[in-house]
């Protein structure tokens, strides 16, 4: 009876071994099935178990649970339904199955479940071959540091090749290690945070330096405190540089918009000495043209919707140029030599245009969506994202200025325009049809404003009052830049745009604007004709 006895022992031991292992590491299937439970306590326990198992197979079920796509039946079956809600996959085997959707239940989760789900999903996603998924996962871990993710992060760091993901992971790990008992680890963590951290981590470092009432520091090790001190300084310096870069870029993009708005105004003002109060409405018309073009694309050319800008840009130019020429022929032509009255008449035109658009398209803002290739942005520094739409506007306005410059300096029309600007009588005497040039120039100026309108529709609201908000600013650009002077307009727009954005954080947007206006009024005292004044007789005219 020795053998059976031995067998019995072996079998008992084997069973015991199984039982011991089951206690140490819970059964994967069982843990997964727990996710489908009705009780949230069971779900939370399963998540803990899965977290311990750290098995990538559980990822799809966990994601499904978070996205409310997990279903369970009464017999411990667990299924994942796809986005369409028709195809069911067995969560354990990964095979497609046919089940009766009515017999299934959706496990209910609350925020507590979500809080423990998200870091786990992120950890599991760190092994995904797609860089962008890994980055998103790393950011998730960085935002919600939990001690049990530390090992997964270290593992992931060993294999991770993408530098961006590595940086985020290092910060995530540092935030966890900051809480560890080992001063050496904490010291390392503080240094990592100093190198890659941003404003979010600054507070944690500052907290290390807190003293309680007994004079005890929150951080006991003086070396770590010292490192934290310099890390804070580094973070602040980087943040400052980032802010400056951000302000500069946003200033640049504001300047581009101002430039597009003011360029046409500067040309017509320089040529005819009249201020076109309806110029802002040309911006508005350009933006609404974009809106109409999108509508037409949606009706007839849905597949090409992403490329509507290619049509909207020339259409807006032509529409606004036509309206501008109509105005010049119909009203402004009769008011030459009476600039103040032109100002009033064009104001009347702007009222009529605004009301017409309001009655046609409604008083509410209309929606102009960016094409998909302009949404999103490019991150130049951590925390400084440049939206593609704004980058595109900067490029667009550079191109426009280049084209206008070429038009004015290198073509016959431009030669005529410059001649009439400098001396109308003499130009007429030399056989230039000044009145035709006036019309064409007015059309050109209005058309450029239309281009500005297309640009504005990409970054802001499109409503009947759109032009009003830009008109004062564009006048200021013209006044600052000097009359009929492209270079001056460019410099003035750049200066005002960037100055505005740098003043905003210091004094608030409104006060910043008031300062700029006040500065301008004083500036005009010193240089009444703008930065780049025309020299000679033309200046007095």
């Amino acid at each position: 009876m020795k053998l059976p006895g031995f067998m019995a022992i072996v079998i008992t031991m084997a069973f015991a071994g199984v039982e011991v292992r089951a206690e140490e590491a819970p059964d994967f299937n069982e843990a997964l099935q727990g996710l489908g439970s009705k009780s949230r306590t069971t779900i939370l326990k399963s998540i803990d178990q899965l977290s311990e198992l750290n098995d990538p197979r559980s990822l799809s079920a966990l994601e499904a649970l978070l996205g409310k796509r997990l279903r369970s039946d009464d017999h411990d079956g667990l299924f994942i339904v796809d986005e369409s809600g028709e195809i069911f996959v067995d969560a354990l085997t990964g095979e497609e199955v046919r089940v009766d959707p009515d017999s299934l239940k959706t496990p209910r989760i609350n925020n507590r479940v979500r809080r423990s789900l998200k870091p786990l999903i992120a950890r599991l996603r760190l092994r995904n071959p797609d860089v962008s998924i890994r980055l998103a996962a790393a950011e998730e871990l960085e935002n919600r540091p939990s001690a049990d993710a530390a090992d997964s992060i270290r593992l992931a760091l060993e294999e991770e090749s993408d530098q961006t993901v590595r940086n985020v992971l290092e910060v995530a790990l540092a935030r966890i290690e900051l809480k560890s008992d080992d001063p050496q680890l904490r010291l390392g963590a503080v240094e990592v945070l100093g190198e890659h951290g941003d404003r979010n981590q600054e507070a944690e470092l500052v907290a290390l330096l807190d003293q309680n009432e007994d004079g005890q520091f929150a951080e006991s090790d003086p070396a770590v405190r010292e490192a934290a001190q310099s890390a804070i300084q580094r973070i602040q310096r980087t943040a400052f540089l980032n802010d400056m870069a951000g302000h500069f870029f946003y200033g640049l993009s504001l300047a581009s918009v101002l430039l597009l708005a003011a360029l046409g105004l500067a040309i017509t003002f320089g040529l005819m000495g009249v201020i076109n109060m309806a110029h802002g409405e040309m911006l508005m018309l350009g933006a609404y043209t974009t809106y109409v073009v999108i509508g037409l694309f949606e009706q007839h050319l849905l597949a090409w919707l992403d490329w509507y800008l290619l049509i909207a840009v020339p259409t807006a130019f032509l529409v606004c140029a036509a309206v501008g020429m109509l105005l010049e022929r119909g009203v402004i032509r009769f008011l030459y030599g009476r600039p103040l009255e032109t100002l009033l008449a064009t104001w009347g035109i702007s009222l009529v245009l605004i009301q017409t658009v309001r009655l046609t398209f409604g008083a509410q803002n209309v929606e102009v969506a960016n094409p998909s290739w302009l949404s999103g942005g490019y991150e130049i520094l951590s925390g400084v994202v440049l939206p593609w739409s704004r980058i595109a506007i900067v490029m667009f306005s550079i191109t426009t200025v280049a084209v206008v410059w070429w038009l004015l300096q290198r073509t016959r029309l431009g030669l005529y325009v410059r001649a009439v600007t400098q001396n109308r009588e003499m130009a007429a005497g030399l056989g230039i049809a000044t009145s035709r040039i006036d019309m064409l120039t007015f059309g050109l100026g209005s058309g450029i404003a239309g281009l500005g309108g297309v640009a504005l529709s990409q970054v802001g609201n499109v409503g009947p009052e759109l032009g009003r908000s830009y008109i004062v600013d564009s006048f200021m650009v013209v006044v600052l830049g000097g009359v009929g002077n492209i270079m001056g307009t460019v410099v003035a727009a750049l200066g005002l745009g960037v100055l505005n954005k740098f003043l905003e954080p210091v004094s608030g947007a409104v006060l910043g604007k008031i300062f700029v206006l006040g500065f301008l009024i004083l500036f005009i005292q010193r240089r009444p004709q703008g930065i780049f004044a025309l020299k000679g007789r033309a200046a007095e005219a």
Binding site: L344, L517, G518
Partner: protein, 380 residues
């Protein structure tokens, strides 16, 4: 007959004085009598709601005179008179706020909006506004001082024409933004309102309204006479010379700066006066009065009536505002077309406004008899 004026014009002919007296009698005596004396149901009764409306129009007429003085006579188009008007209004509004006392919603000595913003004490620039005399003088001094400073800077560097107009517009825009801020201390975008009494008298009483209206009429009369005095004086002729040929004037040895500055500042003070009379009658002052659009609209009143003639400015203000009152009730959607159309048509076809049209009709009637010299001045 053309005659050489070296000094001042006579202010009015006897007939014009007579017409002026008739107008004052109707506006300052008949209107209150017809409002207060007849019974509620009598057909002779002038409805109560018309009194503040007329009062408003009277204030607008003062503004129109002020703008005419600077634009019609000195040729300087200001797009900033709305600010002077609103500043006068705010000064009066601050007095009215202070005289609410503890009857506000929060029962606090401070104005309600300050309690709402959790301010503990009065900002320094509100000191003294509990006294009517101080507040009223501030309503004239503040716009005047602002205009003086602004004008001194602008005229000294010889900013003229369109440039000056758009800089005044920038000033208007800056002030509007400033007053829209809650932190500026003037009630933010709600402005100042819920007034209870002026000089201890309740603002709700019909008698108070009529009283304010009569005071406004008297102020208009005073303004008109002052403007008339100025434009008939040697100063007035110099100012007109600034409009017509500033460079020539300078070459003849005059310094246009002081004349321009005087007319400009005086014009702003008149606007402040109008604002101070306007606010107790309308019962509210808020930053939307400072919108650049309002200032431009003020210019069109003068353009419609006829610039360079004081009567034309007053008539234009009334005509445009009466039309506005009617349209915004009867056909609000078409009002902007009417206003926009007015801007365009008046500048294109009637650059001298209604007065100019009437005059050309009259001149055509007797084109053979006299030459049209001296037609610049039109008596009422």
């Amino acid at each position: 007959m053309p005659e050489l004026h070296t000094g001042r014009h006579p202010m009015h002919s006897a007939r014009a004085w007579w017409l002026l007296a008739c107008f004052v009698a109707i506006a300052a005596v008949m209107v209150p009598v017809f409002n207060l004396v007849p019974d509620e149901d009598s057909i002779w009764k002038l409805p109560d709601f018309l009194i503040p409306l007329f009062g408003k129009f009277i204030c607008y007429a003062i503004v129109a005179l002020a703008i005419d003085l600077i634009w019609g006579y000195a040729g300087i188009l200001s797009l900033g008179h709305g600010v002077f008007f609103a500043l006068g209004g705010y000064a009066m509004g601050m007095y009215l706020m202070r005289s609410i006392g503890t009857e506000g919603v929060y029962g606090n000595e401070l104005p309600d909006f300050m309690v709402f913003l959790d301010w503990k004490e009065l900002p320094w620039f509100w000191y003294g506004f509990e006294y009517f005399a101080f507040a009223f003088s501030m309503a004239l001094v503040v716009p005047g001082a602002l205009a003086f400073g602004f004008g001194w800077l602008a005229f000294r560097s010889r900013i003229t024409g369109v440039y000056f107009s758009i800089i005044t517009q920038a000033m208007t825009f800056a002030f509007m933004l400033l007053f829209f801020r809650n932190d500026t201390g003037f009630g933010g975008n709600n402005g100042l309102t819920d007034f209870k009494r002026i000089l201890g008298i309740s603002l709700q009483e019909p008698g108070t309204r009529v009283g304010l209206y009569v005071v406004s009429v008297i102020a208009l009369l005073g303004t008109y006479l002052a403007c008339r005095y100025i434009v008939c004086s040697k100063l007035g002729r110099l100012v007109t010379a600034v409009r017509d040929a500033e460079t020539k004037l300078r070459f003849t040895g005059y310094d246009p700066l002081q004349y321009k500055l005087f007319v400009w500042t005086f014009s702003a003070v008149l606007c402040g006066l109008a604002g101070a009379l306007y606010v107790p009658q309308v019962g509210i002052i808020n930053p939307s009065e400072m919108q650049p659009a309002n200032s431009i609209e003020m210019a069109i009143w003068v353009a419609v009536g006829g610039r360079g003639t004081l009567v034309g400015a007053v008539a234009g203000a009334w005509l445009v505002n009466a039309t506005k009152s009617w349209f915004t009730v009867a056909a609000p959607e078409t009002w902007l077309y009417v206003l926009g159309g007015t801007f365009i048509l008046v500048t294109l076809f009637a650059p001298r406004g209604l007065v100019g049209l009437l005059e050309s009709v009259r001149l055509r009637g007797r084109a053979d008899s006299t030459s049209p010299t001296g037609s610049e001045e039109v008596d009422p």
